[in-house]
């Protein structure tokens, strides 16, 4: 039954994480280089962190990077660990975590749908949520949803009564 500090020491011992942080009680976040992340995932899985909550993706256009965050949880330590890594925005390619957690295939497919990140090794990356979507992936920061809506649809003006200043 490790506490937050032991977990961080464990991470330090086996990898060179870029940043270690205890965010709140039972909540830890560690940032890895992209090469190390997948080993870290399987390492943690073998150390009681068997629950993968989800995989999140955050778009940082100024730094030209996507940030992938893997959220794991251990039923023994009762600690939530978020493993972060940064990948370049334009090729936007990362390895799949399918072999470690088969369910990751769908989280990756969802991220592909919305961010356009390609995961090597995950072959079925076709549309999951959207349906024949032609624009750039919608969750990217440079997709302006209000402009898109203005071009594709129009709003009702209640035959002249709606007063839009």
């Amino acid at each position: 039954m490790r506490n937050e500090k032991d977990l961080l020491q464990l991470m330090n011992a086996h990898f060179e994480p870029l940043k270690l942080e205890i965010k709140r009680k039972q909540n830890v976040s560690v940032e890895f280089k992209k090469e190390e992340l997948i080993q870290a995932l399987s390492f943690l899985k073998s150390h009681s962190y068997r629950h993968l909550s989800t995989i999140s993706c955050v778009d940082w256009p100024e730094e030209g990077e996507f940030e992938l965050v893997y959220h794991l949880f251990s039923y023994d330590d009762l600690i939530n660990i978020s493993l972060k890594t940064r990948i370049k925005r334009d090729p936007g390619i990362f390895q799949t975590a399918k072999e470690i957690w088969p369910v990751a295939e769908f989280y990756e497919r969802d991220i592909h749908d919305f961010f356009g990140v390609k995961f090597k090794g995950n072959d079925n990356l076709e549309e999951l949520i959207l349906e024949n979507w032609q624009e750039i992936p919608p969750m990217r920061k440079d997709f302006d949803t209000r402009k898109f809506v203005n071009d594709k649809y129009e709003w009702r003006d209640y035959n002249g009564q709606k007063h839009t200043d």
């Binding site: 965010k23 989800t54 999140s56 955050v58 969802d110 949803t145």
Partner: protein
């Protein structure tokens, strides 16, 4: 299975047996499903994109619309995310009121899904009773928050308005009525009904390893005898002040999950009684200043709570501006609805597909967002 003996059925999205607007396209041979795939995305409104366009307080109105069965869970996780990043202290009374609201939401969620499951196997009487009972809970919600379903009541920093004492008494009366009249009826009509037991026992089995591997939590995991409940593992709001047991099942089938739903409700009633007796006085909303200018420092947090279907979490990132930078919603039934359908549906009988879908509590708007 060669092609000519195989037929494909579009089970949903327009189908009474499917939970919500969601499709399962499965192929079957004889009366057994051979392969299946989820046809999700019908309820996609791009919540996460909309949230990035709106200041913090506006999202409190948008967030409950994500999962329609349990709006309060979303409001709570959104508020907790804001408070986690902003390190905001919530007054104790607000914690208590939040827990009361969450437990009431759990009861109405469970009674509604028990009704849904019963309708799946043809027991319409229990469906009518379930929805009727839920409606009495909605009356209580309407009295506390001012709306039946979308309460927009739990807000970053506390809750919107205080609960009057006579509403608390009404809640206690309703709890007694549930425990002494409505649930015993339900127990006899459904849980001691031989047909129902036959229809649910041994169906849609998901073992402990499969559940943990898939990341499924809540009743799906607890049906295998594992008392994992976030209210105990990572206590939030006022759950550290109350005692309750975590109901578990043995063999992880639909029957155990529905029994857990019933026992969860009984525990919720116990929790609500304790909360109401011990509720402290004091303010219900931390002073965060001007609502149009809520602002928290740069940072991110993954917060999660125990919804009736399991772990419901948000990953929130703030860049210190007036709007959230990124909010990622992890619905409780995401692994089941997308991955579980492909892995665990094949092999079940056609008659059991609605039983499979409804007993696992697949709620499509959670993964469509």
């Amino acid at each position: 299975m060669d092609k000519n003996t195989q037929t494909e059925i579009f089970f949903g999205p327009n189908h009474p047996g499917v939970p919500g607007n969601y499709g399962i396209n499965y192929e079957f041979e004889g009366d057994t499903v051979t392969s299946a795939r989820a046809n999700a995305g019908h309820l996609h409104r791009g919540f996460e994109k909309l949230m990035e366009e709106r200041i913090w307080i506006k999202n409190t109105a948008l967030v409950p619309r994500i999962c329609v069965e349990e709006p309060d869970i979303n409001e709570m996780v959104y508020a907790m995310g804001f408070e986690a990043i902003g390190e905001i202290e919530v007054p104790r009374r607000a914690d208590y009121i939040r827990s009361i609201i969450l437990e009431l939401a759990r009861i109405q969620g469970h009674i509604f899904s028990i009704g849904g499951n019963a309708a799946g196997i043809g027991q319409y009487t229990v469906m009518h009773w379930g929805t009727l009972t839920r409606d009495y809970l909605l009356d209580i919600f309407e009295e506390i928050t001012g709306a039946r379903v979308y309460h927009i009541y739990i807000r970053p920093g506390g809750v919107r308005q205080d609960i009057e004492d006579e509403t608390l008494d009404k809640i206690l009366d309703l709890m007694d009525e549930l425990e002494n009249e409505r649930f015993p009826d339900l127990q006899k009509a459904l849980f001691e009904n031989p047909n129902a037991q036959k229809r649910w026992q041994g169906k849609a089995v998901i073992t402990k390893e499969e559940a943990i591997e898939m990341g499924a939590t809540g009743p799906v995991l607890r049906a295998n005898g594992v008392p994992h409940d976030l209210r105990k593992m990572m206590p939030y709001a006022a759950y550290d002040d109350v005692e309750f047991e975590v109901p578990t099942g043995e063999n992880g089938d639909a029957w155990d999950r529905i029994k857990i739903a019933r026992d969860d409700m009984l525990q919720s009633i116990k929790i609500i009684r304790q909360l109401i007796n011990k509720i402290p006085d004091g303010p219900v909303q931390a002073d965060l200043g001007n609502g149009l200018k809520y602002k928290i420092p740069k940072g991110d947090a993954y917060v999660k709570i125990e919804s009736k279907r399991g772990e419901y979490g948000y990953y929130m990132v703030s860049d210190g501006s007036l709007k959230p930078y990124r909010v990622h919603v992890r619905g409780a039934s995401t692994p089941l609805g997308l991955y579980g359908v492909r892995e665990f549906l094949p092999g079940t009988r056609i008659a059991d597909v609605p039983v499979w879908a409804k007993s696992l509590g697949i709620c499509p708007p959670e993964f469509d967002r």
